[in-house]
């Protein structure tokens, strides 16, 4: 069935609520309103207020109480209204949820999924479009997943729910409704920690995730037309932990690497991928790794955001750069 990412996520959540009585959904405006992006539409009506419920406006409490529920034995899926507001509950997410297993030497664990929309290009106000995934590279115990399409979104969410440790599931706002894709109605899962080769190639590897996968594919197409460049595009899907094997084998094949992400450049996923390439396959590199990213400045006002974000043109420049001898 053709589904948008919203529909795919809604389907995933409904299937989870159906198959596992331990699952509860909580967050602001997720009940009768169905979530500000309608991801939880109709779920309260279908499964009841005890399993799908609205919370007061308290990010820290949403996560903190979810931790208690998870330790008790439920499987909460908490929604934070926008990823930018994760900063408000960092303490509960990072010092608590991500560390419960560690702190108790495994006596208590926290199987929690935190969903949050992120991403630019849709004219949202301050702190709504921010990409925070780089911050979570230094928070051991937490996994971070960012799907780029409806099929993966549904399957990855299933795996996230299954994971015995906390997972931060970031949903790109621009992708929510931008296209439909054939997605099974029944339950299935896509494994965490595994990247996907969206397009095979031999001359250069582009590593991207979220909305940047399509940006990469567009640039790859143009490079192919303009210079016959054979570009491999890899959708990382899980940005922590990264699929290091996939990264290394692609670079070993092509010798050229580009990383694309909306988030600021410093200390981001691009930096980590570059370090991984350095460690695993430096001697395969024919050119330095290129990073096409947001700038190291706060995400700009809606009127300027198009200049901030990576575009096919910027990625194409990077491709030309790496293809030069």
């Amino acid at each position: 069935m053709q589904m948008t990412m919203i529909e795919a996520l809604n389907s995933a959540l409904a299937l989870e609520l159906e198959r596992d009585q331990r699952i509860v959904l909580l967050g602001q405006d997720i009940g009768p309103n169905g979530g500000v992006f309608r991801v939880t539409e109709h779920l309260q009506r279908k499964f009841g207020e005890e399993r799908v419920f609205d919370t007061p406006l308290s990010e820290s409490a949403i996560i903190g109480s979810s931790i208690g529920m998870a330790i008790y034995g439920l499987r909460p899926i908490a929604e934070i209204q926008f990823a930018g507001f994760l900063f408000v509950c960092m303490n509960q997410l990072v010092s608590q949820a991500a560390r419960i297993r560690y702190r108790s030497a495994g006596a208590y664990t926290c199987p929690l999924v935190v969903r949050a929309p992120y991403g630019g290009g849709v004219r949202t106000p301050e702190m709504h479009p921010d990409s925070l995934e780089g911050v979570f590279l230094q928070t051991p115990g937490l996994k971070v997943v960012i799907p780029s399409n409806p099929y993966d979104a549904k399957g990855l969410l299933a795996s996230a729910v299954d994971d015995p440790d906390p997972v931060l599931f970031l949903e790109n706002i621009k992708l929510y409704r931008s296209f439909r894709q054939e997605t099974p109605e029944e339950y299935y899962s896509v494994p965490l920690g595994k990247a996907k080769t969206v397009q095979e190639g031999t001359d250069a590897s582009i590593f991207a995730y979220g909305a940047m996968v399509n940006v990469a594919l567009e640039a790859a197409k143009q490079a192919q037309q303009e210079a016959g460049t054979s570009v491999e595009v890899i959708d990382l899907r899980t940005v922590w932990p990264l699929d290091e094997e996939a990264i290394a084998s692609s670079v070993e094949k092509t010798g050229r690497a580009i990383v694309v992400h909306e988030a600021p450049r410093a200390g981001g996923i691009g930096a980590e991928v570059t370090a991984i390439i350095n460690e695993h396959c430096l001697y395969s590199l024919l050119k330095p790794v290129e990073r096409v990213t947001g700038y190291d400045a706060p995400y700009p006002v809606p009127g300027l955001e198009d200049y901030y974000l990576p575009t096919p043109a910027k990625v194409l420049t990077a491709l030309r750069q790496v293809m030069e001898p």
Binding site: V24, E50, R51, T55, P56, S58, S60, A61, I63, G64, S65, S66, I67, G68, M69, A70, I71, Y72, G73, L74, N91, Q92, S95, Q96, R101, Y102, R103, S104, A105, G106, A107, Y108, T109, P140, G141, K143, D163, P164, D165, G193, P241, L242, E244, E245
Partner: protein, 356 residues
């Protein structure tokens, strides 16, 4: 001079006055149970003194003294059933013993390691260092119990300083909104390191904050074990029977330093400390028990000697337990190790002399 403020019209609940005379209704406790409470209080004190001594000998990590707060520590846990949950800070250590966590296990953690055999069935979360966060965990546990339909209650304990954190207030709010079967306890010992009670909040009591969140509240003499027990018992059973949460504030005093790294003579008036020593919770209860012919002087001394030996034995056991392996933190990061983490672990092990 007492630094505890009290709302005009709000009188702290008391069963025994500071001389151990019965001034309220005696809760329904057998003599054996009362002696057990007394013993736990002495155990808490002995444990606290011992860990401080060990720290001074370089054998234990930073520790926060329990001195003077034994009645609250024991009283918050005593009315709980095995299935009930307890989330505490670092100053209610005796509550863990009441809930059944073995003394050597707790002692081991002060060697600077994590016990790898924490009895999860005691439903006690590990001691929380990040202030007030545990109050939300307690509320979450209670919410889950309610969703699951279990007759389970969650108790969260924090200090006066914690009431200023967002998490404390958010926890109260959630407790009220969801009518969670939780009891949130503020152990008000008058000091948050060197910041006195009156600088922590302009409100006269913390108890009345419950009203702001629609949560019933109690103010209790925290050095009166019977009053603490009774308040907690009622609040716990109220929660268990579906009548929702309660906020309990216990008035007590931190006789010792904030931790072994603190010197309270820099900011406290010694006269104030002496005044509170006169309200010692163990002495008060002992007087009561003696007057009731439930405890003799000899028996009391015997109990003190027993708990000291129990603590010394627990320390012996803890010091004989193997140290955590240098790479053990890899075991508890996530359920399964990625190849990257396996490689990092192997890297660490290259630097460890395994023969020692």
């Amino acid at each position: 001079m007492t630094i505890q403020q009290v709302e005009p019209g709000l009188v702290p609940y008391q069963v025994l006055d500071i001389e151990g005379n019965l001034v309220g209704e005696l809760p329904d406790l057998s003599p054996e149970r009362m002696l057990s409470l007394y013993r736990f209080m002495q155990l808490g004190r002995a444990f606290s003194n011992k860990i401080i001594a060990l720290q001074r000998q370089g054998r234990a990590t930073t520790f926060g003294s329990l001195a003077g707060q034994e009645a609250t520590a024991v009283g918050v846990a005593a009315p709980l059933q095995p299935q009930d949950w307890l989330t505490t800070s670092y100053r209610e250590i005796a509550s863990l013993f009441v809930k059944g966590v073995p003394v050597p296990t707790v002692a081991y953690s002060f060697r600077g390691f994590t016990p790898e055999n924490w009895p999860s069935e005691t439903h006690c979360l590990p001691v929380q260092i990040v202030i007030a966060t545990q109050m939300l965990h307690a509320v979450g546990l209670a919410m889950a119990a309610k969703i699951a339909g279990d007759p389970v209650v969650a108790v969260g304990v924090c200090g006066d300083g914690a009431t200023s954190e967002g998490d404390f207030n958010e926890a109260l709010n959630f407790a009220g909104v969801y009518q969670a079967p939780a009891v949130l306890v503020v152990q008000n010992n008058g000091w948050a390191i060197s910041v006195p009670r009156h600088k922590q909040s302009a409100a006269q009591t913390f108890a009345t904050r419950g009203a702001g969140f629609g949560v019933p509240f109690e103010l209790v003499d925290g050095n009166d074990i019977l009053a603490v027990y009774d308040s907690m018992h009622k609040a716990v059973e109220r929660a268990r029977s579906g009548q929702g949460p309660t906020l309990v504030e216990t008035l007590t005093y931190r006789i010792g330093a904030h931790t072994t790294a603190d010197d309270p003579t820099r900011y406290r008036d010694p006269a104030e400390v002496e005044a509170w020593r006169a309200k010692d919770p163990i002495a008060r209860f002992q007087k009561f028990l003696t007057r009731r012919n439930l405890l003799t002087e000899e028996h009391a001394q015997q109990i003190v000697a027993e708990v000291e030996e129990e603590v010394n034995e627990a320390v012996r056991i803890a010091e004989a337990m193997p140290s955590m392996a240098p790479d053990s933190f890899f075991d508890y990061t996530t359920a399964n190790l990625t190849p990257r983490l396996q490689a990092q672990r192997a890297d660490l092990l290259r630097y460890v002399d395994r023969k020692s």
